[in-house]
Symmetry: C2
Subunit: 138 residues, 2 copies
């Protein structure tokens, strides 16, 4: 795996976390490619860094106000030359409001090299459903 790419993925995850925890939508979006794709926990599909910045600022200012997130990388591999695939577990603590409590999710990112730097090309997030099921629901 490209060592610079691997370092960049670690930095990106750390910067996403920091940006969330200071409620800065533009900073959260900074590591996304201009034409990035984003699917959120409600199955809503967004495009572009600007939409990702605005959407996050919206939730930082309202339903997730005062929240704290911690990210843990649970997977990373090379896809193709210039393309890495990290998987991350998120633990989000929301202090108040309709979503008060702790929420876990798992997201997939596709991180690609573009003009010498690594950017998030795609991000897809799913809430972890609590409790057992008879079979694992794919």
């Amino acid at each position: 795996m490209d060592p610079q790419g691997e370092r960049s993925v670690s930095e990106i995850i750390s910067e996403l976390e920091k940006a969330w925890n200071v409620a800065d939508g533009a900073a959260f979006a900074r590591n996304f490619a201009e034409d990035a794709d984003f699917v959120n926990i409600r199955g809503e599909y967004f495009r572009t860094r600007g939409a990702i910045a605005r959407g996050h600022q919206g939730i930082f200012d309202t339903i997730y106000k005062g929240s704290n997130v911690q990210y843990q990388r649970i997977g990373l591999r090379a896809l193709v030359t210039g393309g890495l695939l990290p998987h991350v577990k998120s633990t989000l603590k929301v202090p108040s409001g309709p979503l008060a409590g702790e929420h876990n999710s798992v997201f997939t990112m596709v991180v690609v090299e573009f003009q010498g730097s690594w950017r998030i090309a795609a991000f897809h997030n799913t809430l972890v459903v609590k409790g057992p099921t008879a079979v694992s629901t794919l």
Copy 2:
């Protein structure tokens, strides 16, 4: 965009749909890379084609028995050389059991060229939450 890659993505989506609708887990998994990553609608993270085949056979035989799925491609772009990023909307109709009814989801795939053929390297699925929210929840 690589025209052969684009055709392959269309074929892959069609074959996934057909495999689901005849409840064949091995056929569903056939277009995945051996080391593919998969995150399901419960936020559960799986690896390998074999796990994807077994997991799907499990749900085809139980909670999704007799179900019918329709896929609609809602996005496709090139990521890097040899890497494509399709987004797909899924409409699943389940005839009976605890999940009876219609379920919509959106999934991201990463499709990569490997030894002259295109394979799904990563798949991530999220249920579409029904109903409006005050802000779009990213």
